[in-house]
């Protein structure tokens, strides 16, 4: 009998002693946060992760659908119906896409900056400084993008921007209110200055270098109406970047010419954006077509007639760059044809892709923007003739006819708006441009009458609340301190 009990005890002990291997399990292949950053190379990895959060496809897709750039295409299965009908609410996917991209980048940049203290700089001081500088630049750019899309008025220093985050927040449940534009501008300026002091080498236009920093400054000053500074930065950049000619312009959007590119986000086969993203987050071209930019490519967002009609019949290279002229089907009776959706097919062509259809780099800053910022500065300063000169310089490079110079401020800004509408078509600028200078230029959202007869509106006042994006519902739910924008 005693032996039997020994046997049982042995069994029980066996079970108990082996219990640890059932419950103390570390899964293989895991990298704990505590061990993530040990060298300058790890910091570089973190920096690349931060870059990888940056994505402008949400801006491009939203702008095309919400403004007068696009109308639903032949193969539209309901995509962007909300935006086309101005139904924007806090669940809007584009708004939350932007929020996530830029706060993802900010969060990662903050982690890199903080991890800098853990890593020995002397291992490679130059690389270390360049990493830290770029992390600050990413943080500045991302904060600026948040301000751009979520602030009610760029020129109002007291208006709310977003959450200003310059360190990793330990309390994940923290309730943090939005900061003002002023606080944002100050921090962005500070970060850009820090970046400028640290970056010494030129990593190319896929990374935020000294030129990109100045481009951010130029755009930021233009948006807030501080045109003297904007002009200064823009003109400085135009000494090293020239606006491309027609061939270069065409090649730029096939990622073969970089004359104009100050900063673009690289998109290549096999990266995390290599996939269809009809509502952002994938191939830029898939914001317009399911498969490719051909007639058989499943176009679901097509170039709006309101833009096409401006350029139709001209030799403006922007028409052939933005529209697949060879395969588009133009129905001259579209205004009366019941079946015009099927008979009038205007294929967006700015992101045709290379080897992978629809996959292209995302152009963030290019010389033409700097050129037009200078024009804005001239308009602001009352040099209307000079506005005409600058616009016609650009138009000449694009193969468009010259226009007569404006004679008053409204015409000058109107002319700039009209030009930007064509120059930056499908690049995510139109909504911002109408918001910030639509009233000054006497322009508003201008949809084609035929197209908008099927939509809930043909235009929208520049002062409408939908020219500010709603703070996403995911943010409001968790962070009650974050104020929603008016009317949402």
């Amino acid at each position: 009998m005693k032996n039997i009990f020994k046997f049982i005890y042995a069994c029980l002990i066996l079970s108990v002693t082996s219990c640890d291997d059932a419950i103390e399990i570390t899964q293989p292949g895991r990298l704990g946060a505590e061990n993530a950053f040990q060298s300058v190379a790890d910091l570089q990895g973190g920096l690349l992760a931060s870059y990888n959060f940056l994505d402008t496809t949400y801006e491009i897709g939203f702008t095309s659908a919400m403004t007068d750039e696009c109308y639903k295409g032949r193969d539209n299965g309901g995509q962007n119906s909300s935006e086309q009908n101005f139904n924007i609410n806090s669940s809007n996917g584009y708004a939350s896409g932007m929020w996530s991209s830029y706060y993802g980048a900010i969060g990662m940049a903050n982690r890199v900056i903080e991890a800098g203290d853990l890593v020995d700089r002397s291992e490679d001081p130059v690389a270390y400084d360049n990493i830290m500088g770029q992390a600050h630049a990413i943080r500045a750019f991302s904060h600026f993008q948040i301000l751009t899309w979520f602030s009610t008025d760029y020129t109002d220093n007291d208006a709310l921007a977003g959450l200003l985050l310059t360190s990793v927040t330990e309390d994940i449940f923290a309730q943090i209110p939005r900061s003002t534009n002023m606080e944002f501008y100050d921090q962005i300026t500070q970060d850009l200055n820090a970046a400028e002091g640290l970056i010494t080498s030129d990593a190319g236009n896929k990374f935020l270098g000294l030129d990109a920093i100045n481009a951010i400054r130029a755009r930021m000053h233009a948006y807030k109406g501080d045109y003297a500074a904007a002009k200064q930065y823009a003109e400085a950049l135009l000494t090293s970047y020239s606006v491309s000619d027609q061939t270069q312009f065409v090649q730029m959007f096939e990622d073969n010419d970089f004359t104009e590119i100050i900063f673009s986000l690289e998109r290549s086969i096999g990266d995390s954006y290599d996939g269809q993203g009809t509502a952002g987050g994938g191939w830029a071209g898939s914001l317009y077509a399911f498969v490719d930019a051909s007639e058989q490519g499943g176009p679901f967002m097509e170039m709006s007639r309101s833009v096409y009609n401006i350029m139709a019949g001209t030799s403006d290279v922007r028409l052939s760059r933005c529209l697949n002229v060879a395969e588009s089907i133009i129905d001259s009776d579209y205004e009366t044809n019941d079946n015009f959706l099927n008979d009038d097919v205007l294929l967006a062509y700015k992101y045709p892709g290379g080897t992978q259809p629809l996959l292209n780099d995302l152009k963030v800053f290019r010389a033409a923007e700097m050129h037009l910022i200078v024009a804005e500065a001239e308009a602001d300063a009352g040099n209307f003739a000079q506005v005409g000169v600058l616009i016609n310089q650009l138009r000449s490079l694009r193969g468009a006819d010259a226009l007569s110079a404006p004679t008053n401020e409204q015409d000058a800004f109107g002319m700039i708006l009209d030009e930007r509408r064509l120059e930056f078509l499908f690049e995510g600028h139109r909504w911002v441009d109408l918001k910030r200078m639509g009233d000054r230029g006497g322009r508003a959202l201008d949809r084609d009458a035929r197209e908008c007869s099927f939509l809930s509106g043909c235009t929208l006042a520049n002062s409408d609340y939908r020219f500010t994006l709603p703070i996403p519902v995911s943010e409001l739910t968790a962070n009650q301190a974050a104020q929603q924008n008016p009317n949402y």
Binding site: M1, I4, F5, I8, C11, L12, S15, C19, D21, A22, I23, I25, Q27, G29, R30, G32, A33, E34, A36, F37, D42, G45, L48, A49, N52, G77, S81, S82, N87, S90, S100, Y103, G104, I106, G107, G162, L165, T169, F173, I176, F207, I269, D271, S272, F290, V291, D338, L341, N342, G354, T355, P357, F454, S456, V473, S474, E475, T477, A478, N479
Partner: protein
Amino acid sequence: MKTKFSVILTLMLALVVQISFAQNKNVSGTVSDESGLPLAGATVIIEGTTTGVTTDFDGQYSISTSVGDVLVFSYVGFLSQSETVGASNTINVSMSLDNALDEVVVEAYRTTSKETSSISSTTITAETIESRPNASFAQTLQGQVAGLNIVTNNGQPGGNSLINLRGVSSISGNTEPLFIIDGVPVDEDNFRSLNPNDIASLSVLKDAGATSIYGNRGANGVIIIKTKVGTYNQGLKVSYSGLTSFSNLQSNDYNLMNSREQLQLEKDYGSGFGSTLSDVELEARARQTNTDWLDVFFNTGLTQTHTLSLSSGGENLNSFTSLGFSDTEGILAKASTLKRFNFRNNINGKSNDGRFRYSTSLSLNYSESLEPNSIGSGAINRNFVNGALLSVPYISPYSYVSGEGANIPVVFANTPLFLLDRLETYTRRDDEIRAIASLKASYDITDEITFNSTFGADFTEDQLTRSEAPNSFNAQLFAQTGNETPGFEQRNSNRSVYLNFNNQLNYRNTFDDKHTIDVSLFTEYFKAHWRSFGYFAEGLDPATYYPGDGSAYIDDNAANDNFVDTASANIQNAGLFSVFAYADYDYDTKYGFTATVRRDASYRFADSNKWGTFWSVAGRWNLSKEDFMQDVTWINSLKLRGSYGKAGNQRIVDSGGAFAPFGGADLTRDLYVTGNQYGGVNGLTFAQIGNNSLQWETVVSSNIGIDFSMFNRLRGSFDIYKRNTEDLFFPTPISPAINGAQSSISANVGELQNTGFDLELKYDLFKAKKQGDFGMTLSFVTNFNEQEVISLGSGGDIPYGLRVGGIIGEIYAAPYMGVNPANGNMLFQDQNGNITEDLIESDQLATMKNAYPDYQGSFGFDAEWKNLFMTTQFNYATGIYRFDFDYSGFMDPRDIGQFRHSRDILAAWQQPGDITNVPSLNATNLDDQDLSDRHLRKADYLRLRFFQVGYNIPESVANKSGFSYARIFASGENLITWSPWKGLDAEGSGSAQAGYPTPKTVSFGLEFGF
């Protein structure tokens, strides 16, 4: 009287055990119930002595005796029976029920009689599971157990069913019961490889008294499955059952247009092919082509199943062996099949003195299935169901030319052609090997003390092949520029093994004939391993292409990255460790009391709250045993029972499938991942914020129930319950801005309550007095469940998702109020109760409606007359609301020219003053309906779930032909459904959008044995 029995495998020791040796004859045999299932723990005593033995867990006994002795067989709940020892060495006894009691109760780690059980449970026997055409037995269970809600949302043969016991008790975690087959915890989402005909019994344990002993795995109930076994001292028995079934699509009430109507609609609306036709051309096309694509993509699925089983037993060894083969076609033509081969061998053995017993159970299963993916998605080039539902009838299937997929014009109206091409060119195949094995051994250390050990393993190896042919529409369409050999092939190998090792020390004794004590102590060790790897090969050469074979793979080249293949691999490990105990005290089968306690550790919480304690107390009172009840003769038996306790759910992330034990393995850790290249170089990305206070969900439940039998005709049980899930695991919102785009963290913050009742009734409307008389038993099963979210923690409500005071899956919508007669726009009620055409987000109000039923269950009858038998089962469910997005599509004018429509759209508003419920085709607020309840439908249903009629070949005839028995039958599943739901399958979960409906099936079967 049909009764429910179970094979008994866990140990119950004797009430009276003494063994003497000096006798001159050894008699052995099997003690079983009326349906032949062995009774474990029955006592066999030589009359007039105290000499006796108990049967083992297979009902076997062996006793030394003399000719002329009388053996008295007794077992709790059965009438004692005497047999005189004669010349034979074998005495097999079939025991009859004591009228008052009718059920053997399978409990967690033991078996009791109804009288000595304190738990709430239901047992289903083989006869209700066999002979059904469902590839997964879970589907068969539907409606048979009060409180067990089973929804099969997928017509794939052997597809997963969603199973909930007494309401959904978790938001993000696992909500399905723990399944244990022959002592082995198994993957509850995958029964496609298992043969339902091998099941002897299936017991559903419901209340805390029954499930708390499963600790952190018991919160959602436990289902214990026992497979068939042989008996000792039994000659060879061979039995065969075969079934041939024909499955078809269920009908719909969508009132879909034919070719002429669709073309006319397009013409009138001015969009699509119809708008380009003259009246004459339209007429010609309509006459020429009128395709109902439902009939093209769905067709009759033929199923054949065969099971052959052999059982035999010697003195100390018996075995049960079965071979099964089945070939099932889903109704989705060509794309959906299941073929499987099953082998099972169950062996029981014992030592000569019966003190040592062992059993092994082994089942080896292999299945091959074609299983379409993208089901439910809107992908018109991938989801075959879209081809069936959306396709316009004026296109002919003959427009598709085999092999010419690349040339199909890309317009939505060509949806059926894309999908016909996919049927030909796309392969998705699962090959699965599944082995479930267990070994049990028991040793009686003393007459009162037994040691049991059970070791079990569930092994699954699944190989998935996905292949898109190079000449297919999809491959060509999405090919990179200049890629002449597109297409891809993906192969994945997933291997999982679950190991479970349980040791039990049991003490059981009876004092003064009245006080019975049963105490057990356990340890349990669970370990699971997952290994997977696979690749994704880009580019296939059509010359050598064959799905699954690598000859066609294209190598990478210097010119482009079109043919860069990707490889993947994953290792995961999981484990649990527990110590636990139960104690049961019974007084004279009048009163009893059971307590359980379990200490559990889960690897998931190793860094936070490793150990948890779960417990329960339960009591019973057999009122009908009391003296004061002896005069109440119309009551045959009456038992009151109650339980209270706490069980846990450590599967806080519902991964499902074979991966279930491994999901959420690292939630306590802050993690980085490598990958996410930018500029062609790997990044290092912060991936997860850990929660270092993570723990299990706990379900505290109370249950009060009665079991009764009266008038010698009516029997049943009634339970009321309350189940509170505390520390509800829930993705608590966190600020994505502050937390680097992470918008939630999983945390135990909420509380959820389910309350309701279960009722099960059987009534013998006609009792057969003798064999061949007419007998009919009615049955009724129902459950009512009500849910309330009690707390969501400090984060509070999730807008338009979940709220305190609401229910899981609550639908938020603004009421649809009809059409504005003035302009044809839709009218809705806004949040302030005003009528509006323009809805905003916040007009969506909580409705207290969701896709889970309030009442659900079944009713039906079993009847027998002479050699005929008949069974019906009607299932019903009420209080279900689902969005019918399929119908929404058929009513959407924006799809005119692209997809098919319902005739109902012809009622659309046309001119001012029209009163209708269908908005103008040019209404400007069509988007607003997405925020409304316009397409929310009640999906209550009553369904003839099962109907069977059969004939037993008279024994005399069968015997003459050399058979011991033979029967033939015909049956139907889902034959008729009454429901306000318009779609193809009233049963389903959530919104309906291009899903794969379950079929209706007619079967013919043959069974015989010799």
